[in-house]
């Protein structure tokens, strides 16, 4: 089953965040709890953990992109 991974809202006022880095590439196996990507906001860089286990199928943004909260960042094919 495919699931969309959305830009998380890391704080109350957050409207956008910068994708600081990908820790996985398309095609990689991902385990639940592993860090998928890093988001830079006003205060810190957050390592965002995957909520699913499966294979990362597609990614729609690159490091350095500013992304709106709830925008689809990637698709994961869940186990």
């Amino acid at each position: 089953m495919k699931k969309n991974i959305q830009m998380p809202k890391l704080s109350e006022q957050m409207e956008t965040g910068v994708l600081a880095a990908w820790n996985k590439e398309a095609g990689d196996v991902v385990k639940k709890g592993e860090v998928l990507f890093e988001i830079e906001t006003e205060k810190v860089v957050s390592e965002v953990e995957s909520m699913e286990s499966g294979v990362l199928k597609e990614v729609f943004f690159e490091a350095g992109d500013e992304i709106k909260v709830d925008d689809i960042i990637a698709v994961i094919d869940c186990d």
Binding site: P8, E12, Q13, V18, E40, K43, V44, V45, S46, E49
Partner: protein
């Protein structure tokens, strides 16, 4: 957005954050974690811990570092003490930290509500240790007495920054009054652990930091915290410097040598971060 140093990295687990956030919403409770946009929210919520913020989420002061909103304050929720006690039970906390907005509009500054909350938590959660992080209550001794009489285990009042930066950072507060709050608590109730803390990276010098340590010790402070100031938004006071982890370690070593029972000093330390460890460390 300015690139952050590599040591300012935190973890985020959506499920954990939503679980604790959901409980707070259900019980109509505020956390300073959320209101202050705390960088440690993800870690603390994953451990099922949070710092409660009572007396609403609107503050009557306008400190330039703080993300908590100011404006028209709300009426105090009389059910809040009971709800907070229920949340402590639900989260199975062994140590609870309770803070508040500053309520200069209330006759007792909110001291009575603090006391009611401490009592409610104790009643429903015998054995839990309680830390309150209080505003200065304008230094009014009879108001401080109300909080002291409820016998929290720790009374924390943050001086926040060095004396020289008060006009810029805490324009409505007074460095000496904050020190007097700590001194009064220690004099009146020596068994209560006293705690204070500062943010660094606001343009202070090392000597000014050591002066705060000396002043705090003189006032009878047991536990001291030092963390990096992080700018919540471009409208807030700017970060002047990102202090390195090595420098934080130096502050810890010097502070311990000066005589604090416990010092927490690292970039992501906040006054309530791992507060249980600080209390244990401060018991010696």
């Amino acid at each position: 957005m300015e690139k952050k140093p590599e040591w300012l990295k935190v973890s985020y687990n959506k499920e954990a954050v939503e679980e604790v956030s959901g409980l707070m919403a259900k019980l109509k409770l505020n956390t300073v974690c959320k209101e202050a946009n705390c960088p440690n929210l993800g870690e603390c919520y994953k451990k099922r811990t949070a710092t409660f913020m009572i007396l609403g989420n609107i503050c009557t002061r306008h400190c330039r570092f703080c993300n908590v909103g100011s404006g028209v304050v709300e009426a105090v929720d009389p059910k809040e003490p009971q709800h907070l006690a229920e949340a402590v039970k639900e989260l199975d906390l062994k140590h609870v930290v309770i803070t508040s907005v500053t309520r200069d509009d209330l006759a007792d500054g909110g001291a009575g509500h603090f006391a009611d909350t401490i009592k409610a938590v104790r009643k429903l959660n015998p054995g839990v240790t309680i830390e309150v992080l209080i505003p200065d209550l304008q230094g009014v001794e009879k108001h401080l007495d109300i909080v002291i009489a409820a016998k929290p285990d720790v009374i924390n009042h943050n001086v926040e920054t060095v004396r020289e930066l008060y006009p810029e950072v805490r324009p409505e507060a007074d460095y000496d009054r904050s020190m007097q709050v700590i001194q009064y608590v220690k004099t009146k109730a020596p068994q209560i652990k006293t705690k204070t803390g500062i943010m660094v990276g606001l343009g202070e010098t090392e000597e000014q930091i050591y002066q705060v340590m000396d002043d705090s010790l003189k006032a009878g402070c047991d536990i001291f915290t030092i963390g990096q100031y992080l700018q919540p938004s471009s409208k807030h006071i700017a970060v002047k410097a990102y202090v390195t982890p090595e420098k934080f370690e130096k502050y810890k070593t010097i502070g311990e040598a000066k005589g604090f029972h416990y010092i927490a000093s690292s970039p992501l330390v906040r006054s309530s971060y791992r507060a249980e460890e600080a209390l244990e460390g401060g018991k010696s």
